[in-house]
């Protein structure tokens, strides 16, 4: 199936969806989809008889800061049955970077979406496990955003030991002993 037939078939499966064909330099048919259409389009791509994109190869994002809409979410899909590949792109505003999860449709999306949330700060509504994946859980900021500061020098942070005087220490022990009785 060529690109036009693919888009027509997809449009037929999801009549209300806003689909827009984009130029592609490789063997992926590239389609821009509206943010609210993502779950319906994903389901149609997986379940359509002439589509059968059962294999989610990649979910990633690109940050075009300072341009708006700032983010572009990219899904790469493979139809093993029809030997076809498609790239679905979704534009997201910087102020409202959220999209519905597709982890219910392709279980593989679970970690891929977590990685995008971790590194770009794009939220996936309905995600079963929205935690950071690669960075530590208490990390601040989203490292792959273009406005994330690089090559900065931070003073090392250390935890101060608990400072008590000898008297306070003895009082604490004494108080502890009294309450225990």
């Amino acid at each position: 199936m060529d690109s036009d037939a693919l888009i027509a078939s997809l449009q037929q499966a999801v009549p209300g969806a806003h689909l827009e064909r984009a130029a592609s330099s490789d063997l992926h048919t590239t389609i821009y989809a509206g943010r609210d259409d993502v779950p319906a389009v994903a389901r149609a791509l997986r379940d359509g008889q002439d589509l059968q994109f059962a294999f989610l190869a990649e979910v990633t994002a690109v940050d075009f800061w300072p341009r708006e809409p700032r983010f572009e979410l990219v899904y790469l899909l493979v139809s093993i049955a029809h030997r076809q590949r498609v790239r679905i792109k979704v534009r997201l505003d910087g102020g409202d970077a959220r999209v519905a999860t597709v982890s219910g449709i392709w279980p593989a999306a679970n970690w891929l979406e977590r990685e995008v949330w971790d590194l770009f700060g794009i939220e996936f509504d309905g995600h079963p496990d929205p935690r950071r994946l690669l960075m530590p859980e208490d990390w601040e900021g989203y490292p792959l955003r273009k406005d994330y500061p690089v090559q900065i020098h931070m003073t090392p942070r250390a935890t101060e030991p608990l400072q008590v005087t000898a008297e306070e220490f003895r009082e604490n022990v004494e108080r502890d002993r009294l309450t225990r009785r």
Partner: protein, 394 residues
């Protein structure tokens, strides 16, 4: 009166420093006796931000970086990166370069599978296999050294071709390896394929169904062992793979033993491809595109001609620009489909580089394979999915 048995679910931290978790994978296991009730893989201990670093580099400078992601298939990584960039540039590399790349990629696959077979064998108790596998791998590393002067990360690939022409003695070295290797592979099989201890440790262990393999986006030998015959070399051929005669081995059991069978059969197929590729490669000839924007001039011209000196200086100080756009060219690496999503903004540095990591998705599916099994089998399963933590965490 019999004393009441104490029943308690035990939580065990396996890794990140466990010797058989292949680097720094951490598993939080909940155990009921020896049975695994749940498993939560925790990753990120090796996250080095290579994708962010790559955004600060010029296009050619990214190659050493991406080679260090999946450190067992370095040349396969850099080849995937080059293919994506070349697609954006609209470059057509000479046929000789394509054949050399195929040869290098297949040698890299054998190399990676040998490390896998050795470490996996050792983990399930066959220590001698590791010694033999590393003996043959040494020959492959010697070929890398001959080729590029570096054994693990040769950085021999370049956007637009190769760094330099093949060294003298390359054909002889590769042919000597290809003649020596298949009998040695028979020896490894003698040690494992019908070894009843090995069979008991691997058959029916870590099973993943065909449906789940697709749903969890598993690729490469893991998927093919479960009956998914997806191989990028056959489905979306690149570098002229459609002109080579080779088979894609598949099994249907989906267990650890099937993965072993698939990988061993793949090594034999790779030897076949290598022989065909080697016959097609002339000892000397074009090793990069003839494009003065991208390929630096040979040194003897740099030292004698002003134009060549200017061209050399421009390429090494400014690099080249890549037209705005994005590209992803999938290749079949040792661990399955991988490739690089490249986004260019028309400058001499990438805007975004994203590696599709097959190991990351294999780690995600790990829970599916080990829950319900025994804790001793966890070791065999982790070994069988062949994760490289550098690829998982990047």
């Amino acid at each position: 009166m019999t004393p009441e048995l104490k029943t308690e679910v035990m939580t065990v931290n396996m890794g990140p420093q466990h010797p058989s978790t292949h680097g720094v994978l951490r598993l939080v296991l909940e155990l009921d006796g020896e049975t695994v009730l749940s498993a939560a893989p925790t990753i990120g201990y090796l996250h080095t931000g290579i994708e962010k670093t790559a955004e600060q580099k010029k296009w050619q400078q990214v190659i050493p970086l991406v080679e260090r992601m999946d450190y067992l298939s370095a040349q396969s990584n850099s080849m995937a990166f080059c293919l994506s960039v070349e697609r954006l540039l609209g470059l057509e590399v000479p046929e000789r370069v394509r054949n050399i790349r195929v040869l290098i990629a297949e040698l890299q696959r054998i190399n990676s599978h040998l490390v896998w077979l050795g470490t996996h064998g050792m983990e399930v108790g066959a220590v001698s296999v590791m010694l033999y596998c590393f003996r043959e791998r040494e020959l492959l590393l010697n070929i890398n050294e001959l080729l590029a002067g570096f054994r693990l990360f040769p950085s021999y690939m370049r956007v637009g071709g190769l760094r330099e022409d093949l060294p003298r003695g390359f054909h002889a070295a590769v042919r000597a390896f290809l003649d020596r290797f298949p009998p040695k592979l028979d020896e490894y099989e003698d040690l494992l394929t019908k070894n009843s201890i090995y069979l008991k440790r691997t058959q029916g262990v870590g099973v993943i169904s065909k449906e789940n393999a697709v749903a969890y986006s598993l690729v490469g030998p893991i998927a093919r062992a479960a009956g998914v015959d997806y191989d990028v070399r056959k489905y979306f051929p690149y570098l002229g793979y459609e002109s080579y005669d080779f088979a894609v081995p598949t099994r249907t059991a989906g267990d650890v033993y099937a993965r072993y069978q698939v990988r061993v059969a793949e090594m034999r197929e790779s030897v076949k491809i290598c022989r065909q590729a080697l016959d097609r490669i002339a000892p000397a000839g074009a090793y990069a595109v003839d494009d003065p924007r991208i390929t630096p001039p040979p040194k003897d011209r740099v030292y004698t001609e002003m134009e060549a000196l200017i061209q050399h200086f421009l390429i090494y100080s400014q690099g080249f620009t890549v037209p705005a756009g994005d590209a992803y060219v999938p290749v079949e690496g040792p661990r399955g489909e991988h490739g690089f999503t490249i986004v260019a903004d028309g400058t001499n540095r990438p805007w975004r580089v994203k590696s599709r990591a097959p190991s990351l998705l294999a780690c995600q599916a790990l829970e599916n394979m080990i829950v319900g099994g025994l804790i001793a089998d966890v070791i065999a399963v982790i070994g069988s999915i062949d994760v490289v933590m550098g690829d998982v965490d990047r």
